[in-house]
């Protein structure tokens, strides 16, 4: 569980660890029922979008309000340092 938490960018504190482990294994036990089905000849579900295709727009510059505008109003974003020395 600690390994998975690490992958997920989470921590598992000692507090409530047992409870969480119990809940997750109950859910995984429940999910086990999927093994009763033979899916060897079945493909993964296609995207349920109409026609199974993405709807793409033309690659043209267009005016829009939104995130680019947010950058304009505040000038710059200040973010925490995410580069470390080795």
């Amino acid at each position: 569980m600690e390994y998975v938490a690490g992958l997920a960018g989470l921590e598992v504190g000692d507090d409530g660890k047992k409870e969480l482990a119990g809940q997750l294994s109950r859910i995984l036990d429940y999910v086990e029922q999927l093994n009763r089905l033979d899916v060897s000849d079945i493909g993964p579900a296609p995207p349920v979008v109409a026609g199974g295709k993405n709807v793409l727009r033309d690659d043209r510059v267009a005016a829009r309000t939104g995130s680019s505008e947010a950058g304009k109003t505040v000038g710059l974003f200040r973010v925490p340092k995410v580069i470390t020395e080795r």
């Binding site: 998975v4 997920a8 995984l28 999910v31 899916v39 109409a50 709807v55 340092k81």
Partner: protein, 480 residues
């Protein structure tokens, strides 16, 4: 001004004839909200100033003789995972508590373009993860019919606001039943459109292959009106569809005689509450009386749907929520290195259910387990989809209960997450298959709690669903 007993169409007609001004209605509505919401707690953010400003400019337009739009001056509420520019979009999470949206969701843009006035942002289970609105990081919303019970979830605030007359319609989002289940618990209409029918631009992502925005309203007609406005292609959402938008409102009165309605036997086995069963059985009788052909059908993979859904939804959520890293959005905790900063931010920003699902999803996607869990779930999803494809060769629509029980008590299911997941049994197949579904009130149980009936149809058959629901509503008279 009491919104009970008034419809959107009636309200717009009153404005048009200048029997009422928009400003007096909206200002009276906020008085109602002040009185009702301290008990129900449907809203995270109220938008009084902006709503009154919109109301005044609409009044000026009406006074100058402008023609007004179908939703002109109609008060609507918006679930707080749908963005409105310059307003906080919290998703019911500490992570985004102070995050202000830089743009407006397409569905909201379109509703406002049709004249609707947004009165506020409604409470939800954090990031849409829950079935009771108890997973909101801020407070629990209560069912207006019984304040000791949950309103359902995750769009519980939207459902409660409509049911208690604090808005005439609302937007919600539905990933596994989050519009239909609270609609059922609160006695209102809730429509989950076909995946792709409504743009998701501006909806904060939970499980992207299933998320869909849709309306909640008191009557079917308002749901039809809202769907007609919010549907359609949007170049900001590559999964939105350009499929023809039906004339949902005028189509309501087209004949339904000889429509074939399937009753899936798997939805009537197991833990279905006997009172809910009786209401659904009389709903079936009512459709027979309206000249529909009723047929028993089978959707054999129904029993696998919850397991399939919780793997796929958790996997997608674990990926979607990776973006909350303390750098790009909302909350940011400090740490001695980036890894510690991510972990601290995510530990203080996410509630327990969200963390549980991220862990489950990360596990299902991790090396060595991907095939056993995620890939297998995707294959079973194919089987669920095929069940429906086969069923729709023989029937036009499918009728089921929306939920196995009526609204449960606050706290009743919080100790056991699996128990809570199981309450979504009838609503999640629709999301796995990308189908449209609607929940319509079909009566009350012996303690006065609403019971909901669900109708499902093939992709893009919202017109048929709304029509069936409309006939049922007229014949049954179960509207609040």
């Amino acid at each position: 001004m009491n919104l009970k007993g008034i419809t959107a169409e009636k309200l717009v007609a009153l404005y048009r004839n200048r029997d009422l001004s928009v400003t007096e209605v909206i200002s009276g509505l906020f008085d109602d909200i002040e009185r009702i919401d301290p008990n129900v707690r449907a809203f995270i953010t109220l938008m009084r100033d902006r709503a009154l400003k919109d109301a005044r400019s609409l009044d000026a337009r009406i006074a100058s003789g402008d023609t007004i739009e179908p939703f002109a001056g109609v008060p609507v509420a918006v679930k707080d995972n749908i963005s409105i520019r310059d307003v906080a979009t919290t998703c019911g999470s500490r992570m985004l508590e102070s995050d202000v949206a830089p743009y407006t969701a397409t569905a909201v843009e379109r509703l406002r373009g049709a004249g609707a006035i947004v009165v506020g942002k409604t409470n939800l289970d954090e990031f849409g993860m829950g079935s009771s609105t108890e997973n909101s990081a801020f407070f629990v919303t209560r069912n207006p019919h019984d304040l000791d019970r949950v309103p359902g979830g995750s769009s519980g605030g939207s459902a409660a606001s409509v049911a208690s007359g604090m808005s005439l319609a609302a937007l919600g989002s539905d990933t596994g039943g989050s519009i239909r289940q609270p609609a059922s618990f609160c006695g209102v209409v809730g429509l989950k459109p076909t995946y792709g029918r409504v743009s998701r631009y501006g909806l904060v992502a939970f499980a992207s292959s299933m998320d869909q925005i849709g309306p909640l309203s008191k009557s079917v007609r308002e749901a039809a009106m809202a769907l007609a406005v919010i549907s359609g292609l949007d170049h900001y959402d590559s999964t939105s569809s350009g499929a023809r938008i039906g004339d949902y409102v005028r189509g309501l009165d087209r004949p339904i005689k000889e429509t074939r309605i399937g009753i899936p036997k798997e939805y009537f086995a197991g833990n279905l509450d006997p009172e809910v069963r009786r209401k659904i059985e009389s709903a079936i009788g009512l459709f027979e009386g309206l000249g529909c052909a009723i047929e028993e059908i089978s959707l054999p993979h129904t029993e696998y749907a919850i397991a399939t859904y919780y793997i796929i939804a958790a996997a997608e959520a674990s990926s979607n929520l990776a973006r909350y890293d303390g750098v790009r959005y909302g909350l940011s905790e400090t740490g001695r290195n980036p890894g510690e900063m991510y972990r601290r931010t995510r530990m203080s920003g996410f509630g327990t259910e969200v963390r549980r699902r991220i862990l489950l999803g990360t596990y299902a996607l991790s090396a060595g387990y991907y095939d056993a869990y995620y890939n297998r779930a995707l294959k079973v999803r194919t089987l669920v989809l095929r069940d429906f494809q086969k069923a729709f060769e023989g029937v036009d629509a499918i009728l089921t209960p929306t939920t196995p029980t009526t609204a449960f008590r606050i706290g009743e299911k919080t100790a056991d997450p699996l128990e809570m997941y199981l309450s979504d049994v009838f609503t999640i197949t629709c999301n796995l298959a990308g189908l449209p579904g609607i929940s319509v009130p079909c009566g009350w149980n012996s303690t006065g709690l609403p019971v909901g009936m669900q109708l499902l149809a093939n992709h893009f058959q919202e017109g048929l669903l709304l029509r069936l629901a409309h006939y049922f509503e007229k014949a049954g008279g179960f509207t609040l």
